[in-house]
């Protein structure tokens, strides 16, 4: 408050409010909401700005830097605690039975991810806010073997083999709720289509297979062929194919070939294959 006499030109400034403030006052009544920095209301000796040569930064009176920067004087810890105590009535508890991620996934397998954007500008809308991502693990859906393979083929890149997670991202509709409905619709359609078996699916060739199956493959034919010829050359009585298939050496060979094809070439797999071939062809001499 300034008392100014326009005749004499004398102004008398009242002392700032800070001098009358008690040390244990209620600060949340001085700054109840976000407000600009008022040097006469803040009893702190703050200096801010670039220091003068061989001097100190400028004081708080008339300091534009202190007014420009957003201050948190209205959000001191006691003020935050007061606000939260009043807000606590409106909060609800998380169900205590769902205390881990695994349990959440067991009871609620589908995860919907949405993003909200808050920023200052001419418009509060953000076009990225309509994107909806739906994630679900295929092990939680009711699918049988054929349905799972067909679904993975239908979905392509959206399925991750390592985590067994199907991710559907939709943003073709203008509103978020529409995108959510569309993603649920996509999931429903995929699920039901994968349970159907079309006529042309019986024409599935070996190249289309996801994993290597030993039965009816050239590896099986070649192995049986070789063994039959060995037996024929040794003039042993005709051994049937079923007996050969059931023998230990052939089973060993089968497992090692499947491991090689499905899991790739590791040291273990290759050495296992070597052992099984040696046993199959009865060549123990080589190291």
């Amino acid at each position: 408050i300034v008392i100014h006499c326009s005749y004499t030109g004398i102004s008398i400034h009242a002392p700032p409010r800070t001098e009358k403030m008690a040390v244990d006052q209620d600060w949340s009544s001085v700054y109840p909401t976000a407000a600009a920095f008022k040097p006469a209301s803040v009893p702190l000796p703050i200096r801010m700005g670039y220091p003068v040569k061989r001097g100190v930064p400028p004081p708080k009176e008339g300091n534009l830097e202190l007014i420009k920067i957003p201050n948190f004087l209205h959000l001191t810890p006691p003020a935050i605690k007061k606000h939260c105590a009043a807000l606590k009535d409106f909060c609800t508890e998380w169900p205590s039975a769902l205390d881990s991620d695994e349990k959440c996934e067991q009871h609620f397998p589908i995860e919907i991810e949405t993003v909200d954007y808050v920023s200052a500008g001419t418009s509060i809308r953000n076009p990225k806010a309509r994107v909806v991502t739906l994630r679900v693990k295929l092990s939680n859906l009711n699918l049988d073997d054929h349905a799972k393979k067909k679904l993975i083929k239908l979905v392509g890149d959206r399925y991750c083999k390592d985590t067994d997670m199907l991710t559907i991202t939709t943003d073709r509709c203008p509103l978020r709720r529409q995108n959510y409905d569309y993603s649920i619709h996509l999931l429903t359609v995929l699920y039901h289509e994968s349970w159907k078996t079309e006529m042309w699916e019986s024409e599935k060739t070996e190249e289309d297979m996801e994993e290597y199956i030993w039965e009816n493959s050239c590896s099986q034919k070649n192995a049986l062929d070789t063994l039959l010829r060995i037996k024929a050359s040794e003039n042993v009585s005709n051994v049937t194919e079923e007996e050969l298939l059931a023998s230990e050496v052939v089973k060993n060979y089968r497992n090692s070939v499947i491991a090689l094809k499905n899991e790739g070439e590791t040291e273990n797999n290759v050495s296992q294959y070597k052992e099984s071939v040696k046993k199959l062809l009865n060549i123990q001499a080589l190291p």
Binding site: S28, S29, P32, T33, A34, A35, I69, P70, F72, H74, L75, P77, I80, K81, K82, H83, C84, A85, A86, L87, K88, D89, F90, C91, T92, E93, W94, P95, S96, A97, L98, D101, C104, E105, H107, F108, P109, I110, E111, I112, E113, T114, V115, D116, Y117, V118, S119, A120, I124, N140, L141, N142, A147, I184, L187, T188, Y191, H192, W195, K196
Partner: protein, 191 residues
Amino acid sequence: LTFLLLFVAVTHEIPAFWPHSVQRLQQLRQLKAFGLEAGMVTLVLSLKMQVSISDEPETLYKRLSLLVKGHDKAVLDSYEYFAVLAAKELGISVEKVHKPPKKIERLTLLKSVHIYKKHRVQYEMRTHYMCLELKYLTSSTAAVYLEYVQRNLPEGVAMEVKKTKIEKIPEHIQEPVWDTLPQVEETEVKS
């Protein structure tokens, strides 16, 4: 496993552009906007806020990820202290708070209005980030926390909130529908 889904709806006047609150909240004419306006703190304490419970079941959020962006690191640090303290007071578990590295966008412009191509001036815009991850919130708690934290967002700071909602598998995906449909003769597809 059965567990009670508690449903609490907040009853106070909320401006129309907060869509997540307008769905479930009723407008209470007498109760003014929640006491963060000037001088309203004392008023709120005397005017008891009414909590009403609605029938809608709560949606559950497995994770709430707040990414705050600003030009000034000190402002973001203060905001982080505020957000973490608010979460602790409201009983929300904070998974982690981490600060992704800042991104600097630089541009080089001509210093003079006309000619003097060799003399340029360079500007840069620094964006600092702070990411706060919260776990296991119900929709009421999330609405309350987000509203509180977003109303107190300082000027010049932007926020992105990523919500991960968890849901049960809808009924129409439990069983394939082909088992229940009546047998229909297959018709030839006309090419």
